[in-house]
Amino acid sequence: MRDADVSVEVASDPLLLGPVRSLVRTYLEALGIGQDLRDDAVLAVDEACTNSIRHAYGGPCDRSYWITLRSAPDWVEIELRDEGNPAPASKLERKELAPPPGQEHVVPGGLGVQLIYSVFDDVTFCTGEDSGNCVTMRLKRPIALKQTEG
């Protein structure tokens, strides 16, 4: 029995982020996810891929990460897995994004994980002891969007 709707291995090359976004966007569109939510989800998946490329692998383009897309009548699941350096637990905590109190406090970077939390209904991060990261992101599928037209 199949485990997933789509499963792909992607080279850790930033050039491939565009094609990954196209794949995820097309998949969510096929499942009837509306454009606003689809755009948000594509952004969040891009952030997860960026974290693997930039932080887990630290730059080399010759490694791989894996994206798995699964669905059920009431949810969509997107899983991303890499074999890079495990992210420190403190970087994976959910924090409240708040307007910056002043320009001196604004730090570029570190937004990706918080964007993932803000978009998906359910987010689970897991890291290996020595290597590897996995993030599973779930969206609830709106009931109305599952009805067929006509």
Partner: protein, 104 residues
Amino acid sequence: MALTVTVFQRGDIRVVRVQGEVDLNSSPQLRAAILTGVGESTGIGVDLSDIQYMDSSGVATLVEGFKACTAKKLSFLLLSPSLPVMKVLKLARLDSLFRIEDTP
């Protein structure tokens, strides 16, 4: 999609016009275009009207430009940011950080 960068002077402001998608692959191009011009004008305006996609690496690049200009007491403007840009700025709760101008 590649990023197209055009730089020109408009009055006192150096305008960096970018078209395309800003992500980890293309944000270094945007960063270079913004930071190269810091100090050459009284301010920098980044025209984001034709950006179809921007992620947090683009947001971080804009924050870097903002901080570099502010440190030199120069103005830093976002010109006519597109909907995808405003969306990611709002998600990051950083839309109130920038001076935003809609140009015709």
